[in-house]
Amino acid sequence: MSPSNFRLRPDAPAAPAMGPVLDVKDLRISYSARTVVHGVSFQAARGETTAVIGESGSGKSTIARAIIGLLPQGAHLESGTITLAGDTLTRRPSHEFDGIRGRRIGFVPQDPSNSLDPVATIGAHVGEMFRLHTTLSRAETRERVLALLDRVGLSDPVLRFSQYPHELSGGMRQRVLIAGAIALNPDLIVADEPTSALDVTVQRQILDLLDGLRAEHGTSILLITHDLAIAKDRARDTIVLRSGRIEEQDDTAKIFAAPRADYTKRLIADLPVFAPRPPPADIPAADAADAVVVSNLRVAYPTGRHQTRLAVDSVSFRVRAGTTHAIVGESGSGKTTILRCLTGLIMPDAGTILIEGEDIAHARGPARRAMLRHIQLVYQNPWASLDPRQSVRQIIEEPLRNFAIDSPAGRRARVEAMLDRVHLPRTLLDRRPAEMSGGQCQRVALARALVIEPRILVLDEVVSALDVTVQARVLDLLAELRRDLGLTYIFVSHDLAVVRQIADTLSVIRHGRQVERGPADTLFDAPAEPYTKLLLAAIPGQGNAAPVQLQET
């Protein structure tokens, strides 16, 4: 029996073939007194992908929620109409909308890890569509669900049917969610940042899948994303949003070839994949001392009484003082474990780490403390790594207090000088993290790390949570600080486009093993290993969106 032979769309509604599938007119949405969407009008063409791009706070998700009729609590539709294939959706009673959601509009959410009910099986998730909208028997539903699971590229659908979400990887869960969204062959699929929580190679596969479904079934896709590169690769039309207003809407190709709005121009200029790699400012002398030398690092975590899992296995690299070494890998590759070893938080099972020539494992007591002072860590999520109850002044001063550096007046001066260094106005000194933007918080986190004058900074995905324009400014700042303070960076990232901007040397890590290492130029221009090639090809925005390799993730 082969489920792929079943028709996927036997109950397709006879929609009129003409006109746009989605027509949004003068949409205006507010949260109490604050208007977040200011009279937005656009159309989505039938059978095409239309991208809505914008940074955080642009109102793109609010528009997506308005289209599926599930505005968040407190949001109010002030005016405007939304029409789906000729039928007006706005101002419908809730119970009427229940018959439209799922059946005529499919939704693919942002974060697959939390978007599946942890106590329901995969079969129940996809089957819910048929239970809610059709009168199919259990056996018929099962056949249809198996066919769908097969269609979205999941291996062994029968096994998947009875599995629970925690038994599947992020990419597989997103495939399950897509299977649910396409189950009843809707007119439109609204995909709200469908890949922003996924690794770059998985992102590519999921976007390929959506593209394939669109080509096969003529489903229209509204792709909500912050990533211009994805829009460039995948959408025929693009709408650029900023602060609830449309800056520009046109053919994607036209927008990228000749952007008209200044905002669009800046967005495109700031995208790392399009930016030229800056020439290394001043290359440290080839005989410069080694800041960090890692040899044959090995870390195993216990997983059972007599079992261990190798998180990191024989990883070696050498970072010369004043250069940036990038560690690149997807989730679960062991990047974070390497970081934790470097900063002395965990002890490796084998291998050595030399920080400025001294073995981190042998240092004890005050010597170890002094050594670790010179290697500081900056985290990915600036809001989570700053104490929400502390002011900026307290946050930056804390390391000085911990190491008992300087008098109170001297500390105050150092904090203010450091704030200037990271280009933050002193008026922020009394703010708390919640009162600042992501970029400002990340600058504060950098200031906190730098205030005790370390020589090495370990940067863990420090720009991944930031909008593209903010990301570009923080990368500029990092380059400036490295030049002025003679810092050495260890830059951990999953984003090769960003790495290309900043790294001198890099290590590619997969499943805890070092796949490839070497000078950045060599690895980017002539990668030797297939995995490195795959990673490079998966960077969106390069205009080569053809499927590379179908592999379940």
Binding site: I68, H95, G102, V119, M129, L159, H166, E552
Partner: protein, 335 residues
């Protein structure tokens, strides 16, 4: 494509489950032994004893020699260690000793009081669960915001009402004003209606607040929204997705509350004149009736341990992430 058989679990999985249950049961026995020892030591440390309280009364006119003989007959004269071993051994055989105050075997006292308390606990718990779910449903699904707000405020209100007051109020209204249920001369189950009602309200208050909190948390998770985007109605999302997830943390609290109902219904039993374990405990404390107290502590410890044991076994049933992971496949797709 071939049909694999994922539904059957490998024998190793059963062996592992059995081993897990055995370890849990071992822990439970250890806790019971600890409870026994602790109570024994504490009761030994109390100044005075039951023999003194009952027989030292000058009106009885007993000589010190006679009192010493009585002490010997109750086994309270021996060294503490000998008493400990003796009592523990007897208890393992189901013999709880004699009540000094009442002069009857403790087991016969329990035989009459335990069913009353058990009935009260079960009825009270069922009633409490009913209120809890009614509040959760009302606070989540009622179409009017003011009604949802009211339902949300209810548990805090009734949780603040002391039991002796709400109990008397219930009797006043139901029995004396409305003449619905007589206060005396009722059957064993009919007579439980009022006490169960009274005991369930303060218990349901924290239960409802905790369930509501978890319902709110779950409702804000993306999968609840995703279920709505599939076209499920709010009620369908509530029953099929929110409640099964909110039940997981709620279960622990439910077990504790049931244990408390079994262990201490003193006030309810006093107000409604029920001769349950609560009454027995009150009398035993007043008379320092060591054997009875020891037995009561063991009964409540046993019920707590049993309830927790059952809940531990229920967790993997309700939460698939806690189940055995032997079924996790590591196959990759070859295409």
């Amino acid at each position: 494509m071939t049909r694999s058989a994922p539904a059957t679990r490998p024998p190793a999985a059963y062996a592992e489950t059995a081993a897990r249950i055995a370890v849990r049961a071992g822990h439970a026995l250890l806790v019971l032994w600890g409870a026994f020892t602790l109570t024994f030591v504490l009761l030994q440390l109390m100044p005075g004893d039951a023999v003194m309280i009952r027989f030292m009364d000058p009106e009885l006119g007993l000589t010190p020699a006679q009192i010493a003989a009585i002490r010997l007959s109750y086994g309270t004269g021996a060294s503490p260690f000998v008493q400990y071993v003796h009592t523990l051994g007897q208890m393992l055989h189901g013999n709880f000793g004699y009540s000094v105050q009442l002069g009857v075997p403790v087991s016969s006292l329990l035989a009459t009081t335990l069913p009353v308390t058990l009935r009260l606990a079960v009825c009270g718990f069922v009633a409490a669960m009913t209120w809890t779910f009614a509040v959760a449903v009302a606070a989540t699904l009622l179409p009017w915001a003011w009604a949802r707000g009211l339902a949300r405020a209810l548990p805090g209100l009734w949780g603040a009402v002391p039991l002796y007051w709400s109990g008397i109020l219930v009797i006043q209204v139901v029995s004396f004003r409305l003449h619905l249920i007589p206060v005396i001369g009722v059957g064993p189950w009919e007579g439980m209606i009022l006490p169960a009602l009274a005991v369930s309200l303060p218990v349901a208050a924290p239960l409802a607040q905790i369930l509501l909190q978890h319902v709110d948390e779950t409702a804000n998770l993306p999968f609840a929204t995703v279920a709505r985007t599939k076209g499920a109605s709010p009620a369908s999302v509530f029953w099929r997705h929110i409640i099964p997830n909110a039940m997981l943390p709620f279960l622990t609290m439910g077990g504790l509350v049931f244990g408390e109902l079994l262990a201490g219904a003193v006030v309810t039993e006093t107000v409604f004149g029920l001769d349950g374990v609560g009454q027995l405990t009150r009398q035993a404390v007043a008379g320092q009736d060591v054997a009875v107290l020891q037995a009561v502590v063991m009964i409540s410890a046993t019920s707590f341990v049993t309830i927790n044991f059952i809940i531990d076994l229920l967790y993997p049933v309700l939460n698939p992430t806690l189940r055995h992971r032997a079924r996790r496949p590591t196959r990759s797709r070859a295409s």
